[in-house]
């Protein structure tokens, strides 16, 4: 009797758990790989969905997959998404949609009205990457990348690449939803554009769009992104480069490749000013030396010093710029609220001073390091 009751209980629970799921064969859906969200001049939401469609060709009797791009317009995102389905053979499925791209125009107009449906609907992934495209949606979806058949899959791979960790922010939709409500509501989203300067057109990640209160207020260029990442870094930097002057020649350079970086943050608020102390430890290796190098302990120390000075100068310059604009990219406001709950500060970065303690360590074999 108990067994029967238990089985019945399991069945009822499972029926409830299934919720919105329905049996659908994998070949009877159209998978969206990327959702591009734009706004038109009448403030209507325009979406482009890059999709994968599998079918059996009756002409040559083979199974095939093809890329389709759908476009729809609506007053709300839900409206536009429903509109998309009116074009498709099967229901468009967003479970494989790993990238949501907002156009620069949409980002500058505000993302607040565009994200609710993505958060509310169970089919959309919270772990998807988000980005801001510096151009129109039409331009992005018409670009056929040579590295992959699908822009969405290409961007997903690019945005989680360790190799690009200094010039991108590994930013997913769920992180965006969290940080948009804390501190000064500042988010950093990767910006990208289509580079047509080379022999082939390629999509390129190009700096970071700063979103405050869901509106794009500033854009860091790629070099600024490196310094911002070093300042903000929470152990994510696994690759990157710092270029310093040669120790012996004025017009030559030495490239140091970042192997590991860790930044710890301490904060002190005296009631009037905030002292932001960043302790930055970076392990590098010598990657490229122009015109050779006099290998000695002294040279290595000099190179380390040059790198430390460069990082200090650049990070302080960036901090000064952000402070002047009042954009709290480093989440100082959030940290102050946590450490000094009673403090009533309007914009923490405005009253902050940066003190950085930078330690660059050149790694190498012990033979090189200690062989004078």
């Amino acid at each position: 009797m108990l067994k029967k009751r238990l089985i019945l209980l399991f069945l009822i629970i499972s029926t409830l758990l299934t919720g919105c799921f329905n049996y659908r064969d994998i070949n009877r859906v159209i998978f969206s790989t990327m959702l591009v969200i734009d706004v038109d001049e009448d403030d209507n939401i325009v979406i482009y969905s890059e999709c994968f469609h599998s079918f059996r060709s009756t002409l040559d009797n083979t199974e095939q997959g093809q890329r389709l791009v759908y476009k729809a317009t609506g007053k709300t995102l839900f409206d536009a998404v429903r509109e998309l389905n009116t074009f498709s053979r099967y229901k468009i499925d967003y479970s494989q949609c790993k990238v949501y791209i907002f156009t620069e125009r949409a980002a500058k107009q505000g993302l607040g009205d565009l994200i609710d449906f993505l958060r509310r609907d169970q089919e959309f992934l919270l772990r998807a990457f988000i980005g801001v495209f510096l151009g129109t949606g039409e331009e992005l979806v018409k670009h056929v990348p040579k590295q992959d058949d699908f822009v969405g899959l290409l961007l997903e791979q690019m945005l989680q690449s360790d190799f690009l960790s200094t010039i991108i922010v590994n930013y997913r939709f769920n992180e965006f939803l969290n940080t948009r409500n804390i501190g000064k509501h500042v988010n950093k989203i990767n910006a990208m554009y289509i580079d047509s300067t080379g022999p082939e057109n390629f999509i390129k990640v190009h700096g970071v769009a700063i979103i405050q209160d869901d509106i794009m207020v500033y854009k860091l260029d790629p070099q600024e992104t490196v310094w911002c990442n070093i300042l903000y870094n929470q152990g994510r930097l696994k690759s990157g480069a710092i270029i310093v002057k040669h120790t012996d020649y004025e017009d030559k350079y030495v490239s140091l490749e970042i192997r590991k970086s860790k930044t710890t943050t301490n904060l002190h608020f005296d009631g009037r000013r905030i002292n932001l102390i960043k302790k930055i430890n970076i392990d590098v290796v010598i990657a490229d030396v122009q015109d050779g190098l006099e290998w000695s302990e002294e040279t290595l120390e000099k190179l380390e010093h040059l790198a430390e000075v460069k990082i200090k100068d650049e990070t302080e310059a960036l901090f000064g710029k952000l402070k002047a604009k009042g954009v709290d990219v480093l989440d100082i406001q959030h940290q102050v609220e946590m450490e000094y709950p009673g403090s009533d500060i309007e914009n923490a970065i405005k009253i902050s001073n940066l003190t950085s303690d930078i330690n660059v360590q050149i790694l190498g074999s012990s033979n090189i390091r200690g062989s004078n």
């Binding site: 299934t18 064969d25 994998i26 070949n27 998978f31």
Partner: protein, 475 residues
């Protein structure tokens, strides 16, 4: 006067036997005249060794110049066979004749004797067909009860090894032996099996070990809670663990109880190879079991409900592969399963060389043709084939796996992964609810019992196993 009575009794007894065994052409009546009177030997042709019969039973009577008139003296002085005894009544007499013994009637003394001069042709001791090993012994049980017991005794030389004899089936009178080691086997287990066997004595016919298995095993399950083996070395080892064995005359398989779930994953080679190979193979079998039970249901859930859990490249690949299949995935899986079951049955029923060829070519041609015809996709063939091949690693669980895979598939079809979990939990609950002769079938897994010897998922040193096997379990 007494002589007349004995002669009348002699004639009467033979008439009764002839009446009872009429229309049986192989029953032979050999009457010889001795110095004291008539002696009639009744036996079944082809069941006795005629040479021994002549030399040890008939010749002594013919050659004797004086014959004693006392049955005990005949037993001790005349007959030269190694087993001679008196028969008390006509029923026993007939049973002895039908068992292959020679029964002697005398016209000059009171009493009936039987002599064992069996000459039944037995199959030689051959290699085990179902449990082959690489390094282990090559002996397997035969159909003869006596030979089988001797094979065990040869390995287990201990006075504690007890053998109880039963005759099952009112008509078949099949000889059954119950074997256990007195100092290791729990009394309640002996009583349980003994009672079950005694209950079968009133049945009309008992021919095979399966009759006894059906009586003892857990009802309402596809898992076998009794084990069978054709290897004497396995039985000897199990007896030393305190288990109990049942042998029936006419069957080369010996039943062993209690038989636990984990026993399905053990093979003799685990102990004949080194411990790393043995452990690796055993873990492989455990993984194969999980794959065969779980894989089809999991595949169905992922490709019909939970696309999110698939990497995009795989999802798109599967979608393309299935693009030309007109049926739902679940139908497709069941079609392929059905094909597989047909092929397996064909492979088993046909003679070994042809059966193997049918299985291999059938699988290749049928799989390819099914894909070409649009009945199925490559990925489904792969999943069903992998799941099916995994069952070959644990053939004793084949039926249970097929049934439970289908149940899990059924739940998954309607509910996706939650259904898969429900099916799987039901499967585990079912296993946990089974018993084997009163012991939990999952022992020692899923019980509060401490693992006394490390011989569950991996095989430790043989020294440790043999020294700790009964630690704390002795009576």
């Amino acid at each position: 006067m007494i002589k007349d009575i004995l002669e009348k009794q002699y004639i009467s007894n033979i008439s009764i036997i002839k009446e009872k065994l009429k229309n049986t052409y192989d029953v032979k009546y050999r009457e010889i005249t001795t110095v004291s009177g008539l002696v009639c030997a009744i036996f079944i042709d082809n069941m006795v060794d005629t040479k021994i019969l002549s030399e040890t039973v008939l010749s002594p009577f013919i050659d004797a110049e004086i014959l004693p008139a006392d049955i005990d003296h005949i037993k001790s002085r005349i007959l030269k066979t190694y087993v001679v005894d008196s028969v008390e009544n006509i029923e026993d007499t007939i049973l002895n004749i039908l068992s292959g013994n020679v029964v002697l009637f005398f016209s000059f003394c009171d009493g009936i004797l039987f002599c064992e001069v069996k000459g039944i042709k037995n199959r030689a001791i051959e290699q085990p067909l179902t449990e082959t090993t690489i390094k282990g012994p090559r002996e397997a049980f035969t159909e003869d009860l006596g030979i089988n017991i001797s094979l065990i005794r040869r390995r287990y030389k201990n006075s504690g090894l007890k053998i109880e004899e039963f005759r099952l089936g009112v008509h078949s009178q099949a000889g059954v032996a119950l074997l256990f080691v007195e100092q290791h086997c729990p009394e309640k287990l002996i009583t349980y099996v003994r009672t079950k066997i005694q209950m079968m004595q009133k049945r009309h016919y008992v021919f095979s070990i399966n009759n006894i298995e059906e009586e003892i095993r857990c009802k309402g399950t596809f898992f076998s809670t009794t084990g069978v083996t054709e290897r004497p070395d396995t039985i000897s080892s199990l007896l030393s663990e305190g288990r109990l064995c049942v042998i029936i005359n006419g069957s080369p398989f010996v039943m062993v109880v209690p038989y636990f779930f984990i026993d399905n994953f053990m093979t003799p080679d685990d102990y004949y190879n080194d411990k790393f190979t043995g452990s690796f193979d055993r873990i492989l079998r455990c993984l194969a079991f999980i794959i065969s039970i779980v894989l089809p249901g999991f595949y169905l859930a992922l490709t019909t409900y939970h696309f999110k859990l698939l990497p995009p490249v795989l999802a798109f690949r599967v979608a393309v592969l299935r693009a030309g299949v007109p049926y739902n995935t679940v139908i497709e899986i069941f079609i392929m399963y059905f094909f597989f079951l047909i092929l397996r049955e064909a492979g088993i029923r046909l003679p070994t060389p042809i059966g193997q060829a049918v299985s291999i070519f059938g699988a290749l041609i049928l799989g390819d043709a099914a894909i070409g015809a649009g009945l199925t996709s490559e990925i489904t063939v792969l999943i069903v084939a992998l799941s099916s091949i995994c069952t070959f690693l644990i053939p004793k669980l084949f039926n249970a796996i097929v049934v439970w895979t289908s149940i899990i598939l059924g739940f998954t079809t309607f509910l996706g992964l939650p259904g898969f979990y429900v099916g799987f939990i039901m499967f585990i609950s079912h296993l946990a609810g089974l018993t084997t002769c009163g012991y939990p079938y999952l022992y020692p897994l899923g019980t509060l019992t401490t693992f006394r010897f490390r011989d569950i998922f991996y095989r430790t040193k043989l020294k440790d196993i043999s020294n700790n096997i009964l630690h704390g379990d002795e009576k």
